[in-house]
């Protein structure tokens, strides 16, 4: 089965693949948070450019990236379309039938479209070049609560198990003549299948816990991480942070917060 779940590209090496994971995660997180809230459309375009540069530096195939971001991109389009219809002040750019689209709403929609796309591409660049378990290790080092991280790690592993399980059940239902058509019967069959999935997972969880106890599980992490940060890593992170802050300067200047300092 082609799960297509993990976005990590194994057969690929690039500068970004080899970079220290801690550096990568911190830099990309800073950039994404910054890009996601940027208010100036030129800076959003700059961020989009930056994200495409990241993809090029990571040597990711364009088709892979497009496939990855396609469905979230549709959601963004939907939201941008909703914003486009939100009216607002300013001249009316064009009217489609009885819908008026104003300059302000068009600008808003464009800003959101651009910055959201940039953020998704950046995250894709990070995830396609870093293995999931390494990301979790970095999160340990960043002091995210252990309780949450352990659940995260376990669920990640079992997603693949249950994904196969569900596939098996669907195949066997199809073999018995089940066709998904809208009817009460379809709902009942699907519900029983999902119910069985949940019951299996419940039993599995019990077994996993008992086997873990047998192996001396105490709830404390025993991950040994060797993430040494070198000078170049610190420089890279500082550079990323600097850009993350810089892209907000135009909007801040415009709103008059920075004029006091600049003047």
């Amino acid at each position: 089965m082609d799960t297509g779940i993990d976005s990590y590209l194994y057969n690929n090496t690039s500068v970004i693949h080899r970079m220290n994971p801690m550096t990568k995660v911190v830099a990309v997180l800073a950039m994404v948070i910054s890009v996601a809230i940027v208010k100036d459309i030129n800076m959003a375009l700059f961020a989009l450019l930056l994200s495409i540069l990241m993809i090029i530096a990571a040597k990711l195939p364009i088709r892979f990236v497009i496939k990855r971001i396609w469905s979230p991109f549709l959601f963004i389009l939907l939201f941008a379309a909703a914003l486009l219809l939100s009216g607002g002040e300013g001249e009316i750019l064009w009217s489609i039938g009885f819908l008026d689209i104003t300059a302000e709403s068009a600008l808003n929609a464009a800003l959101i479209l651009i910055r959201a796309t940039a953020a998704i591409i950046m995250i894709t660049a990070l995830l396609a070049t870093t293995r999931f378990d390494i990301i979790v290790k970095v999160l340990y080092d960043l002091k995210m609560p252990v309780f949450l991280l352990q659940i995260l790690m376990f669920s990640y592993r079992y997603i693949f198990v249950f994904s196969d399980e569900l596939d098996n059940m669907r195949n066997s239902m199809a073999a018995k003549g089940f066709r998904p058509k809208l009817s009460m019967r379809m709902f009942s069959s699907i519900a029983n299948m999902l119910g069985m999935l949940l019951i299996k997972s419940f039993e599995r969880g019990d077994e996993v816990y008992r086997s873990m106890i047998a192996k001396g599980y105490t709830g404390k992490p025993t991950i040994i991480t060797e993430n040494k940060m070198y000078a170049k890593d610190y420089i890279f992170v500082s550079f990323a942070l600097l850009i993350a802050v810089m892209i907000h300067i135009p909007a801040l200047t415009q709103s008059g917060i920075l004029t006091g300092i600049a003047g």
Partner: protein, 239 residues
């Protein structure tokens, strides 16, 4: 919910994260009070999270399209207060694995499904004390959970500036027709109601599908694996 990074205004994102962190702490403390040792729950919750995650990926045919279930209410029934943690983790996984949702918006997305999950737990708990049969209780729980998500989504869209203002112009066109014009007038004059109305319309199929599916799942679990719903059983016996 898969609102993406970069879509919502900054303050909404910040408020979303703050409330999510508070609710995470509260729900973990709550289940600690119920169970005692949470270490025991780590594999259980994780495995159930994985199963619910996979279940949500299943496409349910609903002509003309198909939809994905949300299962927040159902998760609430099965996991109790830890449902909030479960939803936080599964949304984090979705963000990491599919780029659905995002990092900055994780707080808001968790609230959109986690609050209905917690409410689902409370509603089912309350209903299990009455004489209502379990299929009805679970259908009501899921229906209400999706409704709460819809309401929250409407609030978030509205405060983020999506008010479908242009549709107002459209509503003017129906002013000649007796009943419709009254509805149009109410929609136009109450702030936020139009946003809510649009989102509500989009989510009606999901509400019905979730209610029906849950109405089948919970009785099935009750028959096959009653231990999963033990906490509600003891409730009934105590009365």
């Amino acid at each position: 919910m898969h609102i993406s990074d970069g879509v919502l205004p900054t303050w909404v994102l910040a408020v979303g994260w703050i409330i999510t962190i508070i609710l995470l702490i509260v729900s973990i403390a709550w289940s600690k009070k119920q169970i005692g040792n949470l270490t025991e729950k780590v594999p259980q919750v994780a495995v159930m999270t994985a199963a619910l995650f996979v279940a949500c990926m299943l496409k349910i045919p609903m002509p003309p399209t198909s939809l994905h279930l949300m299962l927040a209410g159902l998760a609430g029934i099965i996991l109790g207060p830890l449902v909030f943690v479960c939803i936080f983790i599964s949304l984090l996984l979705q963000a990491i694995l599919f780029q659905f949702g995002g990092i900055t918006v994780l707080g808001v997305n968790t609230l959109l499904m986690g609050i209905p999950g917690l409410c689902g737990y409370l509603i089912f708990m309350a209903l299990s004390k009455t004489k209502s049969p379990s299929w009805l209780s679970s259908a009501v729980t899921s229906f209400v959970a999706v409704t709460i998500t819809t309401v929250l989504l409407g609030i978030i869209f509205y405060v983020s500036g999506v008010d479908f203002g242009s549709l107002n112009a459209m509503l003017d066109r129906v002013s000649g027709i007796p009943v419709l014009s009254n509805i149009a007038e109410i929609l136009q004059n109450t702030p936020g109601l139009l946003t809510f109305f649009m989102i509500f319309l989009m989510n009606i199929p999901l509400m019905l599908a979730e209610a029906v599916i849950s109405a089948f799942i919970i009785p099935f679990i009750e028959k096959v694996k009653p231990e999963m719903l033990e906490q509600y059983k003891t409730n009934k016996q105590n009365e």
